[in-house]
């Protein structure tokens, strides 16, 4: 059984009388103790998916299962909170600037365990050590810490109640390269120790290489290709995946269009290989062993 199973989740927003199809039938999964990476350019619905999974947005359609239990219904809210946690994109914004680190952590701790403030101190100090922060950090305010330190605090906070799934919404995009590497190392260490499943969201396919088992490529509310890591990097099939892998050479010159084609393949307007048949939307099909693709290119 998969740890997280997302099935045909839809989430539409209405913006200026236009319907924005942020998620349009997304399928995704995370295996227990492993990492699935969700990759796509900004604005393609990655963060929306993360927020739907943790229950911040209710989905319009589709089902989400955690360890086989449906978590979209209100009945399983406590189960969801206990098992799914999230690390946000910008560490500077995800801690209340008026609270000390101690208070932010204590608040998270006191939700499921009744513990007095004094008794919580040694536990929290230990927790900070496990994310390689000095104990004195406990009494600092967020503005006294650097971005990397703050992100470590956020990771520590999300792990406080031992979740089985951690959603990492571009945890390194606000950090510089050397800090990014350290955070990734920390995450790998945590996964090894606690066997937490990660859903790692990123716009950077190269970063994902270091920690993902499965890679899901998303384009405007749809998964266009997914496969185990090696297959994606050795043999990318979807033109969009190829484009992402080459993103360093800045081939993504053309700006993504806010108005998507009414029907047909979503990548149609930017695709260099488009054909007439692409006006009918392709579905995800297993092209080769474990390699799924939503494109007519490789089909007979």
């Amino acid at each position: 059984m998969k740890l997280l199973q997302v099935e045909k989740v839809k989430k539409y927003f209405v913006h200026k009388r236009k319907v924005v199809r942020a998620l349009d039938g997304v399928d995704l999964f995370v295996e227990e103790g492993q990492t699935s990476a969700l990759v796509g350019e900004s604005g393609c619905g990655k963060t929306t998916l993360a927020k739907v999974v943790v229950g911040l947005y209710p989905p319009q359609a589709g089902k989400i299962y955690l360890k086989g239990e449906e978590i979209t219904s209100k009945r399983n809210k406590a189960f969801l909170r206990r098992n799914v946690q999230m690390v946000f994109q910008n560490p500077y914004l995800s801690l209340d600037p008026r609270c000390t680190i101690f208070f932010s952590l204590y608040e998270a701790l006191s939700i499921f365990t009744k513990i007095k403030k004094k008794e919580a101190v040694p536990f929290l100090e230990e927790l900070l050590k496990s994310v390689e922060l000095p104990e004195s950090t406990l009494w600092r305010y967020p503005h006294q810490l650097s971005g990397g330190q703050l992100q470590r605090v956020c990771i520590a906070r999300s792990l406080i109640n031992n979740p089985s799934l951690l959603i990492l919404d571009e945890p390194t995009s606000a950090l510089d390269i050397s800090t990014t590497v350290k955070i990734i190392d920390l995450l790998l260490k945590i996964q090894e120790e606690k066997s937490v499943g990660f859903l790692f969201i990123s716009h950077n396919l190269k970063l994902v290489k270091h920690l993902a088992w499965w890679v899901f490529v998303m384009y405007y509310g749809k998964i266009v290709e997914f496969a185990p890591k090696d297959l994606i990097y050795k043999n990318p099939l979807h033109p969009y995946t190829k484009l992402l892998l080459d993103a360093t050479t800045l081939k993504l010159k053309d700006i993504p269009e806010s108005t998507l084609p009414e029907r047909g393949c979503r990548f149609f307007s930017r695709c260099p290989y488009k054909k007439d048949m692409c006006l009918k939307e392709p579905t995800l099909i297993e092209i080769e062993n474990n390699h799924f693709l939503a494109c007519y290119l490789k089909r007979k």
Binding site: R81, R98, A108
Partner: protein
């Protein structure tokens, strides 16, 4: 602490802070500072002008403590009392004298007063139509007028912040219902609402009841506009990542509102509270001026002014306008203080620390 440091640098704010502290000291220790009780009238001194304080007598001899003469009057051809100083005897002003009994701060029973004269009466700011000392009455009146400002503002802010934060945080239908209610409150002109509310209660209430009633009425009018602003702040605050993080962690909505939404509105609220206090002082003054507020013989700045309603009275006895000066000065001090607080708390200026 930083706020206080910057306040000290601002001269205008410091001056108004000093004035306000003097006023509030005067209100708290009104019995000590006032030479006479607020309700004792004296037929000898109807409409007596402010007593002149002398240092030299009319032989140009210097006295080492200030003194006054006794005021006597004759009736002129318009049947008016004309007061004059009877210079046959000197009455020195004494400090820390024994006078009427009172309880200091409501606990310590004493009869000590800051100053007083024996043998005659000393009216620093003149006397009113019943021969009561205006200075003492202003001091006693400041208890009502100044406390209504503080209490009224606090109550309406308590309600406004709570309602606004709930409305903004939950949004959607809750927000819609609360905001329509707030708009209904704001649609009615405040002064008419105040009069209508006062009219809906019986006129013959005791002065304590009236006092509480005025506070309730003024807070009832004041909370709506605050709720509206706080709601707007809460609407933007709830989109912050740390609120989402708290939600994901499973922190209850109630705790999120009290820990992460309301504290972030405090710096705005502090400024707005200070700026709104004059409104409450003026509101009380308006009600009392019309005879709907604090009743005689109890004093408040508003009902002291009611004797100055006729232009003739103002012309002949100009000193009865002094409560008005107190209202103006205290309101102005609150405005200046509020404006300087706003400048200090302005987030754009924070960079210069």
């Amino acid at each position: 602490m930083r706020i206080f440091k910057e306040l000290i640098k601002n001269k205008l704010a410091m001056i108004s802070l000093v004035f306000l502290s003097l006023f509030y000291l005067g209100a708290v220790f009104a019995d000590f500072f006032s030479p006479y009780p607020y309700h004792v009238d004296d037929i000898e001194y109807l409409w007596s002008p402010p007593t002149r304080i002398h240092f030299f007598d009319f032989h140009k001899r210097i006295f080492f403590r200030p003194f006054v003469y006794k005021y006597k009057f004759y009736i002129d051809q318009y049947y008016r009392r004309i007061y004059y100083e009877d210079r046959s005897k000197v009455y020195p002003i004494k400090f820390f004298v024994h006078g009427f009994k009172y309880k200091l701060l409501g606990i310590i029973e004493t009869d000590l007063h800051l100053f007083g004269v024996s043998g005659t009466k000393l009216f620093l700011l003149g006397a009113d139509s019943k021969g009561r000392d205006l200075f003492s009455r202003i001091l006693y009146g400041s208890r009502v007028s100044l406390s209504i400002g503080l209490i009224g503002a606090s109550i309406s802010f308590f309600i406004g912040i709570l309602v606004g934060a709930i409305s903004g945080y939950f949004g959607g239908r809750v927000d819609n219902v609360i905001m329509r209610l707030v708009e209904m409150m704001m649609m009615v002109p405040a002064f008419y609402l105040m009069l209508a509310l006062r009219a809906s209660f019986p006129p013959n209430l005791s002065s304590t009841q009236v006092y509480l009633l005025i506070i309730v009425i003024l807070s009832f009018i004041g909370w709506a506009s605050i709720a509206r602003v706080i709601r707007g702040m809460a609407l933007s605050l709830r989109e912050r990542d740390y609120i989402y993080a708290a939600k994901v962690l499973g922190v209850s909505d109630f705790k999120i509102i009290f820990r992460h939404i309301i504290p972030h509105t405090f710096s705005y609220a502090l400024v707005a509270i200070v700026l709104s206090i004059p409104g409450y002082i003026l509101g009380e003054a308006a009600l009392s001026l019309l005879g709907l507020g604090i009743q005689e013989p109890q004093a408040s700045w508003g009902n002291l002014l009611s004797s100055a309603l006729g232009i003739v009275n103002i012309k002949i006895f100009p000193w009865i306008l002094t409560p008005g000066i107190f209202i103006v000065v205290s309101s102005m001090c609150f405005y200046i203080l509020g404006e300087s607080l706003r400048d200090i708390l302005d987030p754009k200026k924070k960079i210069s620390i």
